[in-house]
């Protein structure tokens, strides 16, 4: 029981890390290697507001999200739109996007170093025990999990039922046909990218309450997010959630029962097995 709850909490954290990338890669077709830097930037904002003004990270989120949305929209318009225009095929876009966002991740790290320095930043927020079903858990992790549930749930509802959400899913599946039925593919792709960035930065602000970050840690989160998104199936909210929870449960299980030294190895093993059995990811559609 204890393992399950701890695993689910960790899975929630992973969902926060990966959901933004899923929107960016799944919907806007940009494999964003600078995703982790956006996450760390969100964490920085939360840290700064908390230490300078004692603003709760849960409130900071409401400032971080719109700012990140705007910033990512601009990033898409300035840096990525020209690539999308230039690309002749999806493969070409993928290569260009990898190169560009890799460069952007350097710029991101460089900017954060210039503004905040290379020191670790960590603070204590809601680091109090909460008793649940006879066991104790950190309140900050519970808050992050709750936020993950709200964010993922809202995204799923929005994508499944709203007109705009359906259009966004349409551009993910068939951008050419989507254009034929009068969907403004370019505007929506920019929107999806910006939304992904906002979700990532929000996640960063929330997880900074219990993880120690520094300017160079972004890449770790990018890798984790990539693994989760691919595992769950690109462009599927449910897939990412399930993959994140699965990963959280597996890591906690391995850490508690087998050996904590093997958690990350087990995570990659799971990734490999899933890819071998279902190359398109848990919820992915077969690519045509």
């Amino acid at each position: 029981m204890d393992i399950i709850i701890t695993g689910l909490l960790l899975g929630g954290t992973y969902a926060l890390i990966a959901m933004g990338l899923n929107l960016q890669y799944g919907m806007a077709r940009i494999m964003n290697l600078a995703n982790g830097e956006m996450l760390v930037a969100g964490g920085f904002a939360a840290f700064w507001f908390y230490t300078a003004g004692a603003v709760s990270p849960v409130l900071t989120v409401f400032l971080v999200a719109p700012v990140a949305f705007a910033a990512n929209w601009l990033i898409y318009m300035i840096f990525l739109r020209p690539l999308v225009k230039r690309a002749k095929s999806r493969g070409q876009l993928e290569v260009d996007a990898i190169l560009t966002t890799f460069g952007l991740s350097f710029v991101g790290v460089g900017l954060m170093l210039a503004f905040f320095g290379g020191d670790y930043f960590s603070y204590s927020y809601l680091s109090v025990p909460v008793h649940l079903l006879g066991d104790t858990y950190g309140a900050n992790r519970l808050v992050a999990f709750g936020a993950a549930v709200v964010i993922c749930g809202a995204l799923w509802l929005w994508l499944a039922y709203s007109r705009m959400g359906v259009s966004i899913r349409a551009i993910a599946v068939a951008p050419d046909s989507a254009r034929l039925v009068g969907i403004d593919v370019r505007a929506l792709a920019a929107l999806a990218f910006a939304l992904g960035g906002a979700v990532t930065a929000t996640g960063g602000a929330l997880i900074s309450t219990f993880l120690t970050l520094d300017a160079s840690t972004g890449v770790i989160f990018t890798l984790k997010a990539l693994v989760i998104v691919i595992m769950g199936g690109v462009g599927d909210v449910r897939g990412t959630v399930v993959a994140a929870l699965l990963l959280g449960l597996l890591e906690t299980f391995v850490a508690s029962v087998i050996d904590p030294g093997l958690t990350l190895a087990a995570a990659y093993l799971l990734f490999v097995i899933i890819l071998l059995v279902r190359p398109q990811g848990l919820f992915g559609r077969k690519t045509t």
């Binding site: 840096f79 260009d96 190169l99 952007l104 350097f106 991101g108 460089g110 030294g261």
Partner: protein, 309 residues
């Protein structure tokens, strides 16, 4: 395989160029030689990478994984075996590994392969760390008398082998098959090409070469630990340099490696506090201004001059 006079001419020129470059340690300062080692290392890695990834369009991020394996082969083997045997052993081990990985993943489409290869380095790093923990050993010291000049010459020799291999593959049936696969995999399958086999065979080359590079460079690092041996940055740098040069030609990666190494050096040197930021900006500039790499630039320039004459 019959060689035309033009082939002979090309080979001779390449051999002379290599011999000239091999004299570098005799005249260069330590700093220039270390730049030379860096260029040689990335030339070997990027060229072998491009031999596989150029025609197949699979972006492999497994360089760090194989490089780390090679470094560990030297680190562990140096106490038991003569040094010269280690790069060979590393190459064989990694080629077998690459074949296994290829068997498992090369049926996957592009992006899954990218992430899988990236995960491979991470996976190996974790397993080795865990193994160290179980056995109680730790970082390995490679205390040898091998100098940078030795390392440079070995890398140069390896580069020559890689070029020869790439050249031979380009002329072989395998190379032809790969070009068809790269153009259209479905067509290739219909033409009776065993696409999986061709890709796996080819993937063994960058795998083995990266491991040999790691084995050769291990004495330079003196102290080997998983974090150093399996750094994911290496995989990315190789990709970037190869793409900057251009993967369509065998000489493409080297025209990417040389300017990139010097640009990297110039930035690290002149702006030590903003290195990362400026590297990122330089990077973006390259992607936007040189979409086809230096090969594209050079070839279009050549076309233009030919048009005038």
């Amino acid at each position: 395989m019959r060689l035309s006079p033009k082939d002979w001419q090309g080979l001779t020129l390449a051999a002379i160029a290599l011999i000239v470059v091999a004299c570098l340690p005799l005249v260069a300062s330590g700093y220039q030689l270390s730049l030379g080692v860096t260029v040689a290392m990335y030339t070997v890695l990027a060229t072998s990478w491009a031999i596989f990834s150029g025609p197949t369009h699979y972006i492999s991020l497994a360089t760090a994984a194989f490089f780390g394996v090679g470094a560990y082969v030297t680190g562990i083997g140096i106490t038991y075996l003569p040094y010269w045997a280690l790069p060979l052993i590393a190459g064989v081990i990694a080629a077998v590994m690459a074949a296994l990985v290829g068997l498992a993943t090369l049926r996957l489409s592009g992006v899954y392969f990218v992430i899988f290869t990236l995960g491979l380095a991470e996976f190996l790093r974790q397993v080795i760390t865990w193994g160290q923990n179980i056995s109680g050993t730790k970082g390995i010291y490679v205390l040898t008398s091998i100098t940078e000049a030795h390392i440079f010459w070995q890398l140069l020799g390896l580069a020559a082998l890689v070029w020869l291999a790439g050249w031979a593959i380009g002329r072989s049936r395998l190379g032809f098959a790969l070009r068809i696969i790269g153009d259209d995999e479905v067509v290739a399958k219909h033409a009776g090409i065993d696409t999986a086999r061709a890709k796996i065979l080819l993937f063994m080359l960058p795998g083995g070469v990266a491991a040999m590079t790691g084995a050769i460079l291990a004495p330079r690092y003196v102290y080997i630990e998983p974090l150093i041996a399996f750094t994911p940055m290496l995989s990315f740098q190789v990709v970037i340099m190869a793409l900057l040069g251009g993967t369509g030609r065998l000489w493409g990666p080297i025209v990417g490696v040389i300017p990139f190494t010097f640009l990297w050096e110039a930035i690290s040197r002149s702006f030590p506090n903003q290195t990362t930021l400026l590297l990122g900006i330089a990077f973006l500039a390259i992607v936007y201004l040189l979409p086809k790499g230096f090969v594209g630039l050079i070839e279009s320039a050549r076309r233009r001059t030919e048009g005038w004459s």
